[in-house]
């Protein structure tokens, strides 16, 4: 019986794989492929250093700075907006099933939209530029932060709450002294993590016109200025790596 099941699973899985691969278009190398790939690589190894800093116009540092600013501001907005949802979505804090359910639903609803979709919506709403990026990432992050933080509120040890109530603390004081200290380290850790995510996302969102380093990248790509593409990619790599290292160290200290 077990064997038959195993064989059936094997046959079904291989059938799916065969069907999937036969559906693929034939992989062909275009004549220009080799040329383009080698051009990208030569661009990466001979980056356009003059683009790094250009006092007069738009340069790499300006683009990276914009990206960072978008990430920072959007994380800040999300960090504040997620607080009420995070607590309202936890049965430890709110007794009403309706309130918890509604908050959870709102958080899931926000998480449904990929950052790119949100960015496209906001670009239509407020026009292209950094502001659209800030709004997209700011709103988008609420879904994730709210869920993670409300889960950490769910795991809070409630025994201290009992002690505070017994000492004559009202609900607000109880919340501040018994719940907040337990959630705060996780809260900051999640915020830092989301900041890392937002830096990467902000770099990409520029491609569709939501401000930051992605915009010069897509321009450079469309005019095949590989040296410039190279320096921009290098800049993004350095920035993302640095931020990941710093934020990782900070988070390790928090927990």
């Amino acid at each position: 019986m077990k064997r038959i099941r195993l064989i059936t699973i094997l046959i079904v899985t291989s059938a799916i794989y065969i069907w999937a691969f036969t559906g693929l278009p034939k992989i062909e190398w275009k004549e220009t492929s080799v040329e383009v790939v080698s051009a990208i690589f030569s661009g990466l190894f001979q980056p356009d250093w003059s683009y790094v800093y250009d006092p007069g116009g738009e340069d790499l540092l300006q683009g990276l700075f914009d990206t960072l600013a978008i990430a920072l501001l959007s994380t800040f907005i999300a960090g504040i907006l997620c607080i009420p949802f995070a607590f309202l979505a936890s049965k430890n804090i709110v007794k009403s099933h309706l309130a918890v359910g509604t908050s959870k639903f709102i958080l899931s609803f926000i998480r449904v939209f990929p950052d790119i979709v949100l960015a496209l919506l906001f670009i239509k709403a407020v026009g292209p530029g950094a502001f659209a990026g800030v709004l997209a990432l700011g709103i988008g992050a609420v879904g994730m932060l709210g869920k993670l933080i409300s889960e950490s509120v769910d795991n809070v040890d409630l025994s201290a709450k009992e002690a505070l109530i017994a000492s004559g603390a009202n609900p607000v004081k109880t919340f501040i002294f018994a719940i907040v200290p337990q959630v705060l380290p996780n809260f900051f850790s999640f915020i830092l993590y989301r900041f890392e995510v937002n830096v990467r996302a902000a770099a990409v969102l520029g491609v569709i016109g939501a401000g930051g380093i992605g915009t010069p990248l897509i321009f450079a790509l469309s005019v095949r200025d590989w040296e410039r593409v190279g320096i921009i990619l290098l800049g993004i790599i350095v920035m993302v790596t640095l931020i990941d290292i710093i934020s990782g160290k900070l988070r390790a200290k928090l927990i």
Partner: protein
């Protein structure tokens, strides 16, 4: 100072936790409540500061009804009643000092407490409390770094910082080893003697009850079956409280 008037408690599932309890506890007493698990010791203690609501009767604290109190009045009455728990109930991530200071929150406005604004006087009270239980040197260590006995002493310090007139202790030594048990019970006894703070302590060890109590109350199935001095609490009395099962008697430590 604590008066229970015909107090009964029926849980929502129909079980009777307390049945017509009528007691008067005087200031300065060291009362130990004994009984089997499920006899209603914890329910009785938690009814006194209204962590549990009672179904019938009334409880008066210094003449004020905690049963009828609402909002601020309730917080005010609770402020005068400290509580110590079996599992210490500290905020494990916070420092010892902050845990002890949390006993002071009842004295300040919510706004001040949102920003953690304690006065110098509060800090001095917390330091004195820690000193009294000999744990001042741990003041700035995180609570979860301490041993069980030390954590229980921090929770005693929290009740002291609260400047409570009564301390309720729900199985304060149940999760401690024999040596720390003695230290913690000695601390409670000293506080009772030196500061004249009334103690109401739940224990299941009869030996401990005999050693420390000025008055023992025996509970069985939510009813008071004994109320008298430690001397009056003879082997027969405990047999009545715990049932005449010899094995149980040995487990709870009644000398033969």
């Amino acid at each position: 100072m604590i008066e229970l008037k015909h107090v009964s408690k029926v849980y929502s599932n129909g079980t009777r936790g307390l049945n017509n309890i009528h007691l008067q506890m005087e200031a300065g007493e060291f009362i130990v409540i004994v009984g089997l698990s499920g006899a209603g010791k914890s329910t009785l203690l938690r009814s006194i500061n209204r962590l549990h609501d009672i179904s019938e009767g009334e409880i008066l604290i210094n003449g004020n009804s905690i049963t009828k109190a609402k909002g601020r009045e309730l917080y005010r009455i609770r402020r005068d009643i400290g509580m110590i728990f079996q599992n210490f109930n500290l905020v494990r991530r916070s420092s010892v000092m902050r845990n002890v200071l949390s006993g002071r929150v009842g004295y300040h406005s919510t706004l001040k407490m949102m920003f953690g604004l304690f006065s110098k006087q509060d800090k001095q009270i917390a330091i004195d409390a820690l000193e009294r239980v000999n744990i001042l040197e741990k003041a700035y260590i995180r609570a979860d770094q301490l041993s069980g006995g030390q954590q229980q002493r921090v929770s005693i310090a929290r009740a002291l910082a609260q400047e409570a007139k009564v301390i309720l202790a729900d199985e304060p030594v149940a999760s401690l080893d024999p040596i720390t048990t003695k230290q913690v019970m000695d601390d409670l006894y000293r506080i009772n003697q030196e500061l004249n703070i009334t103690m109401v302590v739940n224990l299941h060890s009869v030996d401990l009850a005999r050693a420390y109590a000025s008055r023992i109350i025996g509970l069985k199935n939510g009813e008071v079956v004994f109320d008298g001095t430690a001397k009056e609490a003879t082997r027969e009395v405990f047999a009545n409280i715990y049932g005449k099962n010899n094995q149980t008697m040995n487990q709870i430590g009644v000398a033969k």
